[in-house]
Point group: C2
Amino acid sequence: MHEPYIAPRTPMRFDRAVRVVSAAAVGGKKEKEGPLGDFLDIYCEDEKLSEKTWENAESEMCRIALNTALSKASLTEKSVDYLIAGDLMNQCTGAAYGLLDFDIPYFGLYGACSTFAEAIILGSVLVSSGQANCVAVVVSSHFCTAERQYRFPLEYGSFSESTAQNTVTGAGAILLSKADFPSNVSTNVFVTEALPGIVFDRGIKDAANMGAAMSTAAADTILRYFETSGRDFRQFDRILTGDLGKEGHSIVSEMLEQKLSGISSRYTDCGILIYDTEKQDVGCGGSGCGCSALVTCGYLMHELACGKMNKCLLAGTGAMMSPQSLLQGMSIPAVAHLIAFERV
Amino acid sequence: MHEPYIAPRTPMRFDRAVRVVSAAAVGGKKEKEGPLGDFLDIYCEDEKLSEKTWENAESEMCRIALNTALSKASLTEKSVDYLIAGDLMNQCTGAAYGLLDFDIPYFGLYGACSTFAEAIILGSVLVSSGQANCVAVVVSSHFCTAERQYRFPLEYGSFSESTAQNTVTGAGAILLSKADFPSNVSTNVFVTEALPGIVFDRGIKDAANMGAAMSTAAADTILRYFETSGRDFRQFDRILTGDLGKEGHSIVSEMLEQKLSGISSRYTDCGILIYDTEKQDVGCGGSGCGCSALVTCGYLMHELACGKMNKCLLAGTGAMMSPQSLLQGMSIPAVAHLIAFERV
């Protein structure tokens, strides 16, 4: 009889095998007016982009984001081995239609708002294993498509709860390559580690309080990372969650502080950074796949590339319910996937 | 200036690095009554499984499928590094809720009905790269949840078109491990190659004729495999598409024959195999994530493990539209992901 194998639940390590070639952030009006607006590569003043539907506009943002990331690196689709993409729309049509123009083999993901981090993990595995030399990650969300799908069409004029968040309008794209990829332009930023998350259900049924629903998953992944990686949180300039907003951020801060005293001074949330939650009408902050994607592809990559930061952690958070599952009385399961970015 | 890298679009090769430990197929009444019914591990006579909703029943089938695959290999969740899962429901709630009980890090995918093949590719990359020793793939579909979501709730009593297919009710699970994984039970079947698909849009807008919409993607992936792998189609006992049904199968047969004369005698479709399309009321055949999963986890794995087959190809097909995108006048993009199974 064999002793059964016990999975260690420790981080994947990529060391210096997975380089960020380039990244692009495409955002709408509220995102441009927010504190990180200057880090957007493309700003869509018309959030419908002259398309007939909001859904087509979101698809168009995906296309623009990938084209911008490619052109920043002087590359074309021919240099990309695989596309990894997803969004919040039913059947992930934002990415599927938006990336149709690109003749690149396509992996579709659904991790709710954690899709960006999930895609970077799987992209990093493809690159570090040698199965790919260059992978493109693209995710998106759009306030108007998300309102129609998860709450009410905008035309109904409904009000939001105080704990509700504002779905980010935008798409982020990031190109990952092996370290010695032949590119004329590239960053000195690497994806060095990853810790995929376990799905938790805290029993919360309030879709207007997703930050709270996702907090257990976020805390579990971050704490597991520090328990198993041998890293000290003081090594990181910033530790970010994806889109918990103020409510979820304050819950996770407390949960982390109980185990790692002092960590909360380095811990923030993309949903808080992307908007001015005092002056902009965004409830508890930003949410959606676009939230962590825009903060990472715009702000974080800039700070890492220019040396203002050296090492940071992103725990992409996702709430895995559907409007139908909530109507059927189910609670909100959540997941958080962690990645470490490091300037080398 | 660097010469830009040109992605080769060739198959990934895993050789003997990715072993199928075990597989499990859970199906409903029509699947049990079909020609492959004897290969089901679990048969759910009550397709609602005493749950309150069809959606919960589908989730329960995911749970049962994974538990069955684990127990066939005398393993528990502790031995599984990662779960890779998906289904057709909005926000992939079949898998997310169904697999909540398992404390295993979770990657959610959305590749429509190609999700099973897509998950096996990414699982094989995780295992062959050494990032995982054991990965579980679980996918599902359910006639009643799919009718509600894509067409009409059953209670409306609507009729189907002649080219329509019947969504398979069932879940399939497969455990993949490195070659020398310490298991007391294992098969001698390996995932040896994979070719991820490119998304195509043939301009078809008829959701009752998905076989035709998916045919270009299926033919592209299969032909690209034979053009770039150096393999001869005569090496394979069977070449299967996932769920094209009779209509799509006949289109793809013609497309393949034009390039590879004689291939059609080896080419069939899981959607045709799973039902008796003459005697059962299933239109053009089966469809859904469960279709390729049940045929593979039940029938194919049995034939490969016992030596009735030695080598076969599965091109998992997926239609990437949503009901909303069709209402908005969009056509149906499709993808096909290919995997090679080999008895060693």
